[in-house]
């Protein structure tokens, strides 16, 4: 049996009366693309931020390779994350932004050229990122996440801002990473697109997990969108 790489154990995060994530328990396995799905405001981003140590949970915990993110040695070399496309200084070029990240994490500068080629941004590497389109920023976010050649990727809405060609590219890209044995956890509210991308799903609604498992088993012949609507109409 394969051991889960990412585990949420009774994770709860509230902001006073507003419960963003409620008792979330789930597992994510290596070599698979796992979709973390739900509408906007369902609690996906909050759960991912708890996983990555940016937000302190009210109770419960989440681990990557059995450790809290905070306790990982050189976390950047184990976990690549894309949380939003604003993570770059607009006054710096893509190369400069990546150099800063490489310096902070101790990654060899040669890796910058490799990841930029992987995300197809070679021609724009010396452009200031304020001139980037949203799609280009998403690609650069992916490059940043790949810099440490991590075995785990945590991506929050990476398809936002991508054109149809970009979405197809992203789908193939994520699948190829999973084939290399990497663990991919990708959140999205675009259910139709995710149906073609993911192997497993975690479906969250109003902070609560309403379904999880292999996408075919969860959907049972229905579309992911229909499955989601059926599940959330039952959920309180």
């Amino acid at each position: 049996m394969t051991l889960a790489t990412i585990e949420f154990k009774g994770l709860t995060k509230d902001y006073g009366k507003n419960i963003a994530v409620k008792n979330l328990s789930a597992e994510v396995f290596p070599g698979r693309v796992t979709g973390f799905l739900g509408p906007n405001g369902a609690g996906k981003s909050t759960a991912l931020r708890c996983l990555l140590g940016l937000v302190t949970p009210t109770s419960g915990n989440s681990t990557i390779n059995s450790s809290k993110y905070h306790d990982l040695v050189d976390p950047y070399l184990h976990v690549g994350a894309v949380l939003d496309s604003r993570g770059f200084h607009p006054g710096l070029t893509a190369r400069q932004n990546l150099k800063v990240m490489a310096a902070a994490s101790g990654v060899d500068k040669k890796r910058i050229e490799e990841v930029i080629e992987m995300v197809d941004l070679k021609d724009a590497i010396d452009k200031r990122t304020k001139k980037y389109s949203l799609g280009m920023k998403q690609r650069l976010s992916l490059a940043t996440a790949l810099l440490g050649n991590p075995e785990v990727m945590v991506l929050d809405e990476p398809a936002n801002g991508l054109d149809p060609i970009g979405i197809v590219w992203l789908r193939q890209f994520l699948k190829s990473l999973a084939k290399e044995g990497k663990t991919i956890l990708v959140s999205s509210h675009q259910l139709t697109e995710m149906q073609n991308t993911v192997d497993d799903v975690l479906i969250i609604h109003k902070g609560e997990l309403v379904a999880s498992g292999n996408v075919d088993a969860v959907c049972a012949g229905r579309s992911l969108e229909q499955t989601f609507l059926d599940l959330t109409s039952k959920a309180v």
Binding site: L52, G53, Y76, L83, F88, G91, V100, A104
Partner: protein, 259 residues
């Protein structure tokens, strides 16, 4: 820790605004020493010590310290840029042990402030010297006064770079933090030092003047009297501000959720 220091330093060096502020601070220092030399060398200097007195010439060179505002602003930028551009997420993902990031930022703030003030001193003293060279009967400043001014520049840059980081951590909105710092330094603090000298000597600007060890006064007609702490006490007070604002940065950064 070294890796984070290098990364934070790269952020500062790569930014055009850093270089704009560096040039501006040097220009500000040069303008202040030149304008003071010109004013004190003129016949209409309201009876203040002229450039033919040691006190007058030393006050010309002492104005090279006036660019410390730019050290403060660069410190503010080091912290607030993270929140303005959303890079705090990436920064804390690389190093989830936030105290290390903060220490690196404080170290870079101190380094940047120190550098800004060193350059401002060199350019300011040079500009003052050039302006004075066009005037007659110019007195010679003591070496110790030039060294005091150099020390005041370096310690003020070092401390205010750190204070800027702390201020940026406290007031995360960049425009508000910079506007507040400019208004405080150029207006509020100056007025307090001018009208409430007993309080003003304990403020950063008052402590910097204390380090300078020069006699400060206004036109005799205004009958102003200023007292500042001794250079040693002023230096300790400035270092106290650096510790205080490092503490503020820690309180406002280490535990808070990054949304």
């Amino acid at each position: 820790m070294n890796k984070l220091f290098v990364a934070e330093l790269k952020k500062v060096i790569y930014l055009r605004s850093t270089w704009v502020f560096l040039v501006s601070s040097a220009a500000f220092g040069a303008l202040n020493t030149s304008a003071t030399a010109f004013f004190l060398g003129s016949e209409e200097n309201f009876g203040m010590p002229g450039v033919d007195t040691v006190q007058g010439v030393e006050s010309v060179y002492a104005n090279a310290v006036s660019s410390y505002l730019f050290a403060l602003i660069i410190g503010i930028l080091i912290m607030t840029s993270e929140y303005k551009h959303g890079t705090a997420v990436a920064t804390f993902l690389v190093s989830p042990k936030r105290h290390r990031v903060l220490l690196a930022k404080i170290a870079v703030g101190a380094t940047a402030g120190f550098t800004v003030q060193l350059i401002s001193y060199l350019v300011g003293v040079f500009a003052g010297f050039i302006t004075l060279s066009f005037q007659e009967n110019v007195a010679t400043p003591s070496t110790s006064s030039l060294l005091n001014t150099l020390f005041a520049c370096l310690i003020s840059g070092f401390v205010l770079g750190i204070v800027g980081v702390g201020l940026g951590a406290l007031i995360k909105v960049q425009v508000a933090a910079i506007t507040g710092a400019v208004l405080w330094t150029l207006l509020v603090e100056s007025l307090i030092i001018l009208f409430f000298n007993d309080i003003g000597k304990y403020l950063p600007g008052g402590a910097i003047t204390g380090v300078l060890q020069i006699e400060v006064g206004g036109p005799p007609s205004l009958d102003l009297e200023f007292n500042f702490l001794s250079p040693g006490a002023s230096t300790l007070l400035l270092l106290g501000y650096a510790i205080l604002f490092s503490g503020i940065a820690a309180l406002t950064t280490l535990k808070k959720d990054i949304e």
